[in-house]
Amino acid sequence: MVSTADKKEYKVIGTRPIRHDGYDKVTGRAQYGADIKLPGLVFGAVLRSPHAHAIIKNIDTSEAEKLSGVLAVMTAKDLPRLENIQRASAEESGSEKHLSENVLAHKKVMYKGHAVAAVAAGDINTAEEALNKIKVDYEVLEPVINVDQAMDKDAPIILEGFEADHLGKKVLNTNVALHEIHDFGDVEKGFSESDFVLENEVNMQTVHQGYIEPHNATAIWDEEDRVKIWTSTQGSFTVRDSVSKVLGLDVSRVRVTPMEIGGGFGGKIPIYLEPLAAVLSRKSRRPVKLIMTRTDVFESTGPAPGGKVKVKLGVDSSGKILAASAVIKLEAGGFPEAFIEAASQCVFSCYDIPSTRIEGYDVIVNKPSSAAYRAPGSPQVAFAIETLVDEICDKKGWDPLEFRVKNVARKGTRTALGPLYTRIGLEECLEAAKKSDHWNSKLNDNLPSGKKRGRGIASGYWFNIGFKSHVNLALNSDGTVALTEGSTDIGGTRAAISMQAAEVLGIPAEDVRPSVVDTDSIGYTDVTGGSRTCYATGYAAYLASQKLIEEIEEKAALKWDIDVTEVVYENGIIKSKSNSELKMTLKEFADDSPGGPVTANASVDLEEAGGGFGVHIADIEIDENTGKTDVVRYTAIQDCGKAIHPSYVEGQLQGGATQGIGWALNEEYYMSQDGRMENSSYLDYRMPISLDLPMIDTILVEVPSEEHPFGVRGVGETPIVPPIPTISNAIHNALGIRMSSTPMKPSSIIESLKNK
């Protein structure tokens, strides 16, 4: 841990208690979405398009409906038709019409795997058999599978009738859903004044978040015509909002209970199965459970956008960057939203550059509709900029760390989109990298023939959103505090939130008993994503705890019949300021407090915290004959503001780094020319396994954010940003070849070596 100023001594924060949900998760007792059992439960299955691009001429479900054991069949006819109204919140972007059409195709299928119908039956096998009896009449169209194809002037138009936005103008008949420019200063002047100008372009294949738990949803209607949904989601309130829109219901008629969630990384923010379960349940009058197959997960749920990013930098002879430009083209999939705004915010985020110009294209292609994947848009642009910086340093003989320090973004630096940074910690991360054991260790060059080692370094950034959270506290008669909140727990946030409450209350972390509750039981809480949970829900817990202390002091004053200003609560002890006889522990008070339950709650709607910066260092060993790259040493350095539970912060760094390593070396959607993913299984979609990796060292830098009482900054997303360029830079260091496409798989490396 590397901490900066504002050192504080905490009792609970910074310790490593066992997480509150841990016992259930190591014993198999924890209930994930697929585990739910309800009386009379029946099973659903989804029919998906075999074609990447086709018009639906007719769907005949009559044979399926007749099959014995089938209880309900549905198509898009069973959903209200929605307008092209932009959804309000940034987390659930895009239009309502597209939301509905992604759930169940209306007139056209946009990707192989696009849902066209669904069935509920007494058992899963009958449901799947019924799918085979649904006759869909398709008019197959030519698919468009990457940005170049989509932007070609003769490309078939995928989203007919869609009004695109090209620099503020409405445009029809285009596959570019959004064309945006951000610029500051004068890049032409900046480039002309530069002593050295270099540009590169990177090309990236589509990848998937890869969470081990497939999507699931179970629904039942009650006697008041409300639908109750159990699902594994990153945001139960987002599910409620989306389902109510798709089904045309008031939000109060939808209750969502979040089950435990087996990974999300952004991919479990959109809805897929929930409206289907709801409609099938209404039609069959039974509770209906739907679980995706692994193939469905790959072929039908939002992957991370592939695409192309071009970056150009102009530097002076001392190594100061004078100008920078970028052209970002990312695949949105079948419906808009490819995260180009986020990519634009991130591309030059690590540098202080006076003149910048960023052009972004959100491109519709016949692939599943893209969803967020841990810092969406940032890994793609980091690959471009961080390898370009490496290239410049290599050509000019500059130290890559010193170059980054010379151009570092800090508080007050103007970002490429305009706003000034609040307090951030990139400089401290670079310092930590410079001092790290890894950076100062000698790269082992005593290797068998054919093997080479190389070292790479890269930085990365992701911002932290704030948004809404609510926390409820209730004092139990045994002196523990029940904490209810609405942030689904994907990686230990329940513990981190409880620890923040425990710190304020001055009690052990174990004495706060957290529950993640349904949408009827807590105030609106935004998604567990955007690196917001520990920050925003933690902040709500902090505020609620302070209010609880006020409640306790008031009731103690009542109990002792003294003025409330006389009472002080500290670290689990309540006492009178002037009368030393009046003293009790929280437990004693809780056992006998006057005037009703002792409770408090707090709501927040926070602005973002200053973002999280990371610097990664990797040593790779590469076999020149096979092209196989092994990561032999890896260090992830990141500014986390304040590590509430350091083990889980370290876990975010290690997990994100691993996903980035997989993205860099092996993962891709291997597409056929007719738009099918040919490797839609874990066998061929090659994610990192335990054998692929060394121990991943972490250095937690703590530059407290200005926006949170403990200085918390979100940490979850940044770790996936540096790995791809780190690995590419390491390969260049080892072999002198610049890999500018992902994945940097063995065959690509061999090809590059041949062309060297």
């Binding site: 945006e180 986020a342 959103i465």
Partner: protein, 87 residues
Amino acid sequence: MASVYLPYKLRHFAMGSSPIDVDGKTLNELINNLEKLFPGIKLELVENGKLKPGLSAVIDGRATRLGLIHKINENSEVHFLPAIAGG
């Protein structure tokens, strides 16, 4: 006077100049004053009495959660940008 930075696609309202100095105690007042300077710009920024969906107003480095009622200081910087989130 606050400094208002317009996004690329709205700069034509101000003949390309950015930032623009505008008065306003709240974001609502500021936008109304912008409208006085550049008629038609309000339609691009406000819809149904709120900031347009997908649009964010970043005031002194942070995207406002209060929307049009957000108070603007003497030397505030206001940027109108696309709203972004995460995963």
